[in-house]
């Protein structure tokens, strides 16, 4: 089956007042995949993501999302995507159910709060305030708000930063479930193990350029073929495996 591009970015440039954050990048995201944007802080990942999400204006270049042009059809795009922002807050003094009701109104859809909270295993927190949630719960709730409008694509900007290993693995499972349900996922992360587990394809962004797009496997094979060797012999497990083994796999968030 031929892979259908659902997002096409062509020669995207973004200039801020005094510097160029994105210097002409091009890539495609295929329908139904998990696509990772990897790179150091300040590489331009978030800027690129926010331009595709219609939250920021581009300086030049062309972008289509699910067949809609970002310049002329921003409103149609917003209805088809779900966005999780880095460090976004939610309306103060409302509980999770009320926040879901608010987002239903903003998206113009009818969903029951419990149905949405169930998808991210937060039904027991329906009456809790967002600020009282743990880090992992906050991220799961954010993801619930991105799913309200049955989006074709969701964008997750560093969803696992600051989470403990259990919460992180738990979130991976959630992301894999969302993809299994047919939603395309675009994710940024600093954790290469995470990208290796989750992403079908990754793009490395550095200094406003894309310096490589491929599957994680292919990247690793290429590096090994070039004669690269790890300094230390890899063991059958790593320290994180030890941590999970000792502290258990269940979530630690209550």
């Amino acid at each position: 089956m031929a892979k259908q591009p659902i997002i096409t970015v062509n020669n995207l440039v973004k200039n801020y007042d005094d510097f160029q954050a994105v210097k002409g990048i091009s890539f495609e995201v295929y329908e139904g995949e998990i696509f990772g944007l990897l790179g150091p802080n300040g590489a331009g990942k978030t800027t690129t993501l926010e331009i595709i999400e219609t939250l920021r204006d581009k300086t030049s270049g062309e972008i289509t999302v699910d067949g809609f042009n970002i310049e002329t059809d921003a409103a149609s795009i917003k209805q088809r995507i779900g966005v999780q922002l880095q460090a976004a807050g939610y309306y103060p003094n409302l509980n999770l159910s009320e926040l879901i009701v608010l987002f239903c109104g903003l998206y113009g859809v009818n969903k029951s709060p419990l149905e949405m909270l169930e998808k991210v295993a937060l039904t027991d927190k329906a009456k809790a305030k967002y600020k009282d949630l743990s880090g992992g719960q906050k991220q799961r709730f954010s993801i619930a708000t991105t799913l309200i409008n049955n989006p074709r694509i969701i964008f997750l900007d560093e969803p696992t930063t600051g989470l403990d290993p259990q919460a992180r693995r738990n979130l991976w499972d959630l992301i894999l479930e969302i993809r299994a349900a047919g939603t395309t996922v675009v994710i940024t992360t600093h954790y290469m193990d995470e990208a290796e587990v989750l992403c079908d394809r990754v793009a490395f962004v550095n200094g406003g350029h894309i310096i490589g797009i491929d599957t994680p496997d292919h990247f690793i094979d290429q590096l090994v073929a070039s004669g690269f060797e790890r300094k230390k012999e890899t063991k059958g497990a790593n320290l994180e495996d030890v941590f999970i083994n000792l502290t258990g796999k269940e979530w630690r968030e209550n």
């Binding site: 999400e53 219609t54 939250l55 409103a75 917003k78 209805q79 995507i81 966005v83 922002l85 460090a87 976004a88 807050g89 939610y90 309306y91 103060p92 003094n93 409302l94 009320e98 926040l99 009701v101 608010l102 987002f103 239903c104 109104g105 903003l106 998206y107 113009g108 859809v109 708000t145 409008n149």
Partner: protein, 370 residues
């Protein structure tokens, strides 16, 4: 399904309203403060002046002077203090005067000692003129008796004709309540709006909204709607408490209340404009109060919230008359006490409209979405 901007606007209004009624500061500023001021001022303002007069032990209480003092509603007689304590209090000014009246025999001059205090010269003056009035009446009685025996008529110096026309009693609550209502609208409009928009902006709530199909105007309108509903409920509550507990005058009843709510709406819209400006100027939440106070404090003090603007010196009155709250208060009082309709306060509304245009043209320039 077609996307509905109305639905999005109402969703924001509902969320915002829930958030407002759960935030303690909104409830305290919009309801508790005005009510406390009303309770305090309605009680101290109502009875007017009171002069405390100490009565020396053994003072004659059957003479006309004592009876006149007793029947005066301005004079408050203090009978149960020992002499030295009374003198101390007089020196401090917590008693305004001490009287000692000798037993009265008709036909003889009445012996009367009055001590005033420099510590309370003004109130002493009230007692003095009240006493003079009593003496004048006693003298007139005496003169009348003498006249009945004499053919020689003494010409009248003054021919005094006193009449009191019937009218509505203007109680202090009638003055203080519209002022407090204005103050409530001002603080809710300025502080509430500024805080909400700056916090939604800084916590990226608005940015997250922008990732949904919602329009910018829905966000502003939804917030404004919630604040309006909250403030009008608060205003209704204040008016009802004032009316039923403190006898606040509502000439045409429900119609007057509706007119006052219409004025409240106009006032709140203008005050929210200040809030929008401040939310754009402030860098963070802690810089909101200083800027907001620059807007609210002068109006709180100078716009006839507690005392009539006419009590100020002329130059200050010009400043007062430039402030929007002054005109909202004046319009409120006209509507509530004089029974004016919205059409009768066009002068005030015109000045408010000019303020509205100025404030919103600044707000459009300074307002920041992110």
């Amino acid at each position: 399904m077609k996307y509905s901007n109305l639905r999005a606007t109402l969703a924001i209004a509902k969320a915002s309203f829930r958030s407002i009624i759960r935030s303690p500061s909104a409830v305290v500023f919009s309801l508790a403060f005005p009510l406390i001021f009303i309770v305090v001022f309605a009680n101290i303002g109502g009875s007017g002046v009171s002069v405390d007069v100490g009565v020396v032990k053994g003072c004659d209480t059957l003479n006309p002077v004592y009876i006149a003092l007793k029947n005066s509603n301005v004079i408050h007689l203090i009978k149960d203090q020992p002499a030295d304590e009374m003198n101390k209090n007089l020196a401090k000014g917590s008693i305004d005067a001490i009287v000692d009246i000798k037993p009265y025999t008709p036909g003889k001059a009445l012996g009367l000692n009055v001590q005033y205090s420099k510590a309370s010269a003004g109130k002493g003056g009230i007692l003095k003129s009240l006493l003079n009035n009593v003496f004048y009446h006693m003298q007139s009685e005496l003169l009348k008796k003498i006249q009945s025996f004499s053919a020689l008529q003494i010409p009248k110096v003054v021919d005094l004709q006193e009449t009191t026309i019937s009218g509505r009693e203007y109680k202090y609550i009638d003055f203080i309540l519209p002022g407090q209502l204005g103050f409530s609208l001002l603080s809710s409009g300025v502080f509430g709006t500024a805080f909400v928009f700056i916090s939604l902006r800084l916590t990226l709530v608005i940015k997250r909204f922008f990732a949904t199909p919602v329009k910018k105007y829905s966000i502003v309108l939804g917030e404004a709607l919630a604040r309006l509903v909250f403030s009008l409920l608060g205003a209704t509550f204040i008016i009802l408490v004032g009316h039923f507990m403190f006898g606040f005058t509502l000439i045409h009843g429900v119609v007057t209340v509706l007119n006052m709510l219409a004025l409240s709406t106009i006032g709140l819209i203008i005050f929210m404009g200040f809030g929008f400006v401040i939310s754009g100027l402030a860098k963070n939440e802690s810089s909101v109060p200083p800027i907001a106070n620059i807007v609210t404090l002068p109006q709180f003090l100078l716009s006839g919230t507690f005392f009539s603007v006419t009590a100020f010196p002329k130059w200050l009155q010009h400043l007062s008359n430039a402030l929007p709250l002054t005109h909202l208060n004046n319009a409120m009082r006209k509507v509530a006490f004089e029974g004016a309709g919205i059409g009768d306060v066009t002068h005030q509304l015109l000045i408010l409209l000019i303020w509205g245009i100025i404030v919103y043209s600044v707000a459009v320039k300074t307002f920041k979405w992110e």
